[in-house]
Point group: C2
Chain length 453, copies 2
């Protein structure tokens, strides 16, 4: 294999998909393993992507009347004991706080001291602790619906972890709502699923299938669990956002009752819904190629990198002035109501520089050297095309068209993922084919019940 055919990521997807994934996360500088088993460090490039996802979701939530709040990270053990079915599913593997102090031990090191009367659990999800607040906040039908969300970290002690997909600590949002009728709660459950589907398709460029979980895959304690699932490039399904109709199960456990309009005391109907940093894992596995991640422009950590090509020191000032004025012009532009994010990379590190940005998946790479400046043009590479596929574009035209180019990339990513799914889907239209599929299928799922909510 000649040098020119080499990929930036080793192994390739075809060679070893799970290992390719780990290498892409590392090469894209999205996240690191941490010294705490199963917990990740989200690096600035990965966190900026998460910030964009949070902004999009938060806006969509608020437009439906949801308000944000914050609840304690610790859950008293007795709260989990109240909700038997819930515990069965969740509380088995979780971080338990048993002491509230460290003291110098006999060997000079530190030892836990100050044992708690009741152990505290680091929240794996907050239904029980939020239910306690809701039981105080709700007394009449006039207080309903109650529509609350929190952005938080949660902990589920995972034995085998993979960055973003399955980690012991992860970041997410958890929405919790209370309603006067079952119909209204079911409607909210569906409304939030639609929001997750919109986030996935319109922003992350991930085509999803909306569906209902089987009884065995349901959220513990839920009456009904809806979710969106997407097909990854290894043809496995990934659950990317879930919305639960909890019926009156949690309101009975937490005593969330209300006086109805005919003055009858009733148990309320609740929902919960969540999406997490796992979305980033799904994004990588949907769009990544053998050169690294490809970021959909509408949530990209940054949209375009300008790379000055300075061969002679005496050219530096001129080139940098050109680059900086171009950067300023671009930063003044808006892409879907957000300012364009522009990077300038003037490091003198040769070809490594371009490859670094390819691996990080930035939508547009722009090279600017003395010849480009003389021609008043820029040399543009799109991340949705091959790395050698670059074109010279007049500066004015590039500035004028950049948001259209970004939209094109966004659409390409979605179309490609949809085609992939269609190509690798079969319709099971009779029992025989269904049985045959079950027996011989290589179809699998990522963590059907885990960090997705």
């Amino acid at each position: 294999m000649g040098k020119q055919n080499k990929t930036a990521i080793t192994p390739t997807r075809a060679e070893d998909y799970p290992e390719w994934y780990q290498q892409v996360v590392k090469a894209s500088q999205m996240a690191d393993q941490s010294p705490v088993r199963g917990c990740m460090v989200i690096k600035p490039w990965g966190y900026a992507l998460w910030e964009n996802i949070m902004r999009v979701l938060d806006d969509m939530f608020k437009k439906t009347g949801v308000k944000n709040a914050y609840f304690p990270i610790f859950i008293p053990l007795s709260f989990l004991e109240k909700e038997a079915e819930h515990v069965e599913g969740f509380a088995k593997e979780c971080a338990v706080v048993t002491h509230h102090r460290l003291e110098k031990g006999a060997n000079g090191g530190l030892e836990p001291a100050g044992m708690l009367n009741e152990p505290l659990i680091v929240r794996p999800t907050s239904e029980t602790i939020i239910g306690d607040s809701f039981s105080k906040w709700v007394s009449s039908y006039r207080d309903l619906p109650l529509l609350i969300n929190q952005w938080a970290n949660v902990v589920r002690w995972e034995m085998r972890t993979r960055l973003f997909l399955r980690t012991s600590e992860f970041l997410w949002q958890e929405g919790h709502t209370v309603h006067a009728t079952a119909e209204e709660a079911v409607e909210r459950t569906q409304m939030m699923l639609e929001i997750y589907a919109r986030l996935a398709e319109e922003y992350l460029a991930i085509p999803v299938i909306k569906g209902r979980k089987t009884a065995s895959e349901r959220f513990p304690g839920a009456v009904d669990t809806l979710c969106i699932e997407a097909m990854m490039q290894d043809r496995k399904g990934l659950q990317a956002g879930t919305s639960h109709f909890l019926g009156q199960n949690f309101s009975k456990a937490s005593e969330i009752t209300f006086q109805s309009s005919i003055e009858k005391e009733e148990y309320a109907w609740t929902t919960s819904w969540g999406a997490s940093t796992r979305l980033i894992g799904g994004l990588i596995m949907t769009h990544g190629d053998d050169d690294g991640i490809i970021l959909p422009p509408r949530v990209a950590s940054s949209h375009v990198v300008l790379m000055p090509i300075i061969r002679k020191p005496e050219d530096r000032m001129n080139i940098m002035m050109y680059v900086e004025s171009l950067a300023k012009e671009l930063k003044d532009k808006f892409y879907h109501h957000c300012p364009l994010e522009v990077e300038i990379d003037d490091r003198d590190i040769g070809g490594a520089r371009g490859w670094e940005w390819i691996k990080k998946g930035i939508p547009l790479r722009v090279e600017i050297g003395p010849r480009d400046i003389a021609d008043n043009s820029v040399y543009v590479g799109r991340r949705d095309k091959g790395h050698r596929n670059r074109t010279s574009i007049k500066r004015d035209r590039f500035v004028g068209e950049i948001t259209h180019i970004l939209d094109e990339i966004q659409q390409t990513l979605f179309d490609r993922a949809l085609l992939f799914r269609k190509t690798h889907s079969i319709t099971l239209d009779d029992k025989l084919r269904c049985a045959a599929f079950r027996n011989h299928s290589t179809y699998e799922k990522y963590a059907p019940y885990g960090t997705g909510g």
Copy 2:
């Protein structure tokens, strides 16, 4: 005392300031005590204020080149053991995770199981865990400065807690930077202090004094601790944001070294800086009056509430149409680049409605009844004036001037607080007065070293 002189909050500030504070937090619906000792539930009205503070700070940080990231919530015990002085100050009272599983016990309840080989500490601050990452991210002077911030929850096991001021779990941001020279790190320490001062004065309307902590009040492990302090209405000082020059102490403990431009291996110079939900406590104690909190318009959870006055059911539709068209007009306006936040409260609960919004501190209350509509005007109450001091203003004029009115309220709050501080300050210009002050002073501080960072 006649009914008309009654205050919404009992006791008044003069009667019992600490108890007044607790009652204001409760009455303003900002936060609740939670069933987890020392942890608070931040309710939507309080969280919206925190979201605005986060937005302002985050923007200011990013303008100085800071990028956000996220680090694990757990810190291995051995990390704390490495930094002796740091531990002395922090690690005494903190939540310790010793187990990673719950199992059914003999009595049917749940019991901690799966003991960890090494206990994990829920972060009281993240210097040690972030230092570990930085030691991997930094290798050459070209990697510097490294400017990182994280928005996170932290836990310090407090024995006596007060909502927002001192809680076992609180929300904050912690910035951590690495520099090649001491001068640059000192400059960054000061730059971030200026940002906190700007947040306090321009947004929270809290006049602050910038200063340097004495050796005994310094952050454990810091070479120098700068902070902003404000005078509360009980004339105590409150520390509201801190910025630490850490010298090479943490880089030595975490082995953060870099190759200098003359190829010498050197320990880096680091800083850290933080502000927390305690700012909300400071805001309440600076601006609150005997009727509740007063929110400075530039960070207010909401700017204006419209209260339709519907005495006859047949008027409802007309009045609500008027109110909703006014709300739409107001929501289209911008106040310092953010859309105006407008509440409509059409609950039929009599005088309680107005008092509720006074206690919540919304800057403007607007009443709209049939007579106002006939006159095409609105009846406006400003929270910085007495609750009976209300004026009729023509609708068009109100819409046209609302942002000026909000700016006026913002300025009034700042001026009032500054005057209060000046009135209750004395200059100690010789040793004798200084000694006399020390002996007889009632001057005290809130938690000089605690949840402020």
